[in-house]
Assembly symmetry: C2
Homo-oligomer: 456 residues x 2
């Protein structure tokens, strides 16, 4: 199918799906799970082919290459669907999503505008989603499940290295859908960047683009479409050690934020130290970081105050200006000292990617100002930035972590994939017309209605 | 100031404002109102100059031109701030906005992730808004009030015909702000399209663009920025007369939807008639429309069935295909017959601008399917499409009516100008780290917290 045909089919599938019940969606998830179970061997065989093709060498040898540091361990990890419990987790994820509360049909505002004229604001799906992500085959199934549960049609594009696996997963999803009243084209997959480029022009059919990946991927897409983009880009997270920081909290939060999983977007890249701590708390934190093999890129003040630490020459050096705008994604931490909370906040608002930033503090005043003054999706207190995650927040699962500032921000679960519509119903004889209201005529009543669901 | 300086000043003002209390915002609105009152004569003089300049002829003569049908009555109406009670309404609007509930600081999700680890999702401002609108001077004040109340910095650009008035209004707003702790650059105005073009490139500083106006304005902006756009574009609204439509409701809803204010975006442009009504209800509706001087552009079926009506030759003619994609904004209505509700819904989902569509029906099944199956911001039952309006919905006021499908949809009040952030606070000794959770370690608790406000 051409891109236009794919987009049209998606929109048509979405429109048809709108009057299909929520229970049929849950049924579809169960059918898809069954299909995947019966196709397990074929999918994993295709995945092994993908692995071999991507590496152009046998898998075992590839792993040796990784060990020798000559190849991306993360690509291997992401692509390999047979690794560990990934397959089982993928299937379990479908059931988990099926069991989540339905995000649609919830009344978030209801008002009687006049006797017998009732307004309901009701959550509903967005429409057709175009989701672009890395070469992680299980994400095809995750996002398909989220889209189906939230009532959105979706067109999915994974990294090209996973194309063979994706094709088989897509076949299983379509086979599952075909056993329900949802259209088979409700979830479609595409394979090429050219298709993405064509689809980005089709704002008539596609309602939201969700790119997960690098800043450059997100910016490139934003530059080439008028469709709204919910960007899932880099995380340049900060920890700020306030004047009142507790030593143990400082050490634990900074070390965990940096070392728990350095390549994750919610890892911390820059530590900001109040200058009153430079010769007290900071050297202890630095010692713990060096023990965890973290390389420190320091400003002159924070560098000179740790000059006596063991191993400092191997682990600490003067930072360049650009280090404070760099997502290291590794055991590397930029460090800077500031004279005040206000300066720290200005620094974070300038350099942060507005993902997640944390303060270590015992001062209620500082905590309150930081949580309000930092313009990020997550403002944390005495807690690791690594907590920024849909599962940890209790959403069950997530599409990703939005660094945008409209619609959905931070970890995006099912609620981030719905919008709302206004339903207005007149029960009066002759219906309701605007011409009856105004100066010298009827006035609006605006009486709140207590309703959780639309009564019709 | 250059566009970059304006944008930077706006972002800096926004960041500073984040830790200023809500009461100071209300204070600012009151100071702005005082300044406007004291500058009334100067503002109205500037407005009279704008009117003369725009028309290049004296105002009185211009009104005669309008009467002769040679000039846009709507431009005159919009530009003239001295007309009727417009000035007083503008000032009253500031007080009304000040009195609305604060949309910020509301907790919409709260969960204890672990003993002493509390997560709060809290509504907060978006950041810097760039709002582009028509030559209606009072909108400068309306939007400034909405931005201040919702905690957003704003850069405003009105139609060029109102530039003189806008300059003075901006001076009054800045003077009002200067009497508070909010920065004077919290609300800025710009005068030229070149400034808009430059600002659209500055996604680092500007968080949301809100264009109000034609489809072509909105599309042009969407094509030239990577900043999210909340489009307020045309309304191509429909009324569908279902098989079970009540005659009186049909007549009243259709006539009001078309004639109450034909140039408004929530006026109806197309009437869809179930074929079973073509010789019964439809001719009565057509008679009422012709009595209201509405020109009817009909398909062959609906045209032939009204051939016996008086004056039909002057008011009804065969429609062209493009009439069903045209926002007439005048006493003109496209009419088409369909064999079923399903066809009507397909037709609306294809031709509607997803603004507001209404069904006239006595069937619960049809009503339920229509409200769910129509992918529009408003799905109405036995009520005029003209009810789609922030004031009528009870929002107090509105920025406009969004035809987009993410973030805010339909009439956009204060709630549409906020987003949320996640605040996470550990109260445990040593703070909270992710490394303590996982297989064989701590599990997440996810216990709901009952809170309407953040307790810190």
């Amino acid at each position: 199918m051409s891109a236009v045909e794919i987009a049209r089919a998606a929109k048509s599938a979405f429109n048809k799906s709108q009057i299909i019940s929520a229970s049929e969606r849950i049924n579809a998830l169960s059918e898809i799970k069954n299909q995947l179970e019966s196709m397990k061997d074929a999918v994993l065989a295709a995945n092994a082919d993908d692995l071999r093709a991507a590496l152009r060498i046998p898998v075992k040898a590839a792993r040796e290459e990784v060990d020798a540091g000559r190849m991306s361990e993360s690509l291997l990890k992401r692509l390999d669907l047979g690794r560990g419990d990934k397959w089982d987790s993928m299937l379990q994820g479908i059931s988990d999503v099926a069991d989540l509360p339905d995000p649609n049909g919830k009344v978030t505002y209801a008002s009687e505008l006049d006797d017998g004229l009732e307004l309901y604001r009701v959550s509903c799906p967005i429409g057709v989603l175009l989701v672009i992500f890395e070469a992680r085959p299980e994400v095809v199934v995750n996002i398909a499940a989220l889209a189906i549960k939230s009532g959105n049609a979706a067109i999915l594009k994974g990294g090209k290295e996973s194309n063979g696996t994706t094709k088989l997963l897509a076949r299983a999803i379509a086979a599952g859908l075909s056993k329900t009243s949802l259209p088979e084209t409700y979830i479609q997959t595409i394979q090429t960047r050219a298709e993405v480029s064509s689809l980005l022009k089709l704002d008539e059919y596609i309602d939201l683009v969700i790119p997960r990946g690098s800043n450059s991927l997100v910016r490139d897409i934003q530059n080439n479409t008028k469709i709204p983009v919910m960007g899932h880009a880099d995380g340049l997270c900060h920890v700020y050690l306030d004047e009142t920081a507790d030593l143990q909290k400082a050490i634990r939060v900074v070390v965990d934020s940096k070392t728990d999983y350095p390549s994750a977007c919610n890892s911390t890249e820059t530590l900001i130290v109040h200058e009153s701590l430079v010769t007290t708390v900071w050297p202890e934190v630095a010692k713990a970081l060096i023990n965890s093999k973290v390389k420190l890129l320091c400003d002159p003040t924070t560098l000179s105050s740790i000059s006596a630490l063991p191993d400092v020459d191997s682990y600490a050096q003067l930072a360049r200006g650009s280090d404070y705008d760099t997502e290291h994604l590794d055991l590397v931490l930029s460090v800077i000292s500031v004279p005040s909370l206000q300066t720290a906040m200005q620094f974070i608002n300038t350099h942060s990617s507005h993902h997640t930033d944390s303060i270590v503090s015992e001062s209620e005043l500082s905590i309150s100002a930081f949580c309000r003054g930092i313009d990020s999706a997550g403002t944390f207190v005495n807690a690791s930035t690594r907590f920024a995650d849909g599962f940890r927040y209790g959403f069950g699962t997530e599409v990703g972590i939005s660094t945008g500032k409209i619609h959905a921000r931070g970890p995006v679960g099912l609620e981030g994939l719905v919008v709302y519509k206004y339903m207005l119903r007149s029960k009066a004889d002759g219906g309701h017309i605007v011409g009856n209201f105004g100066a010298g005529k009827k006035q609006y009543k605006h009486a709140p209605i207590n309703a959780k669901q639309v009564p019709f």
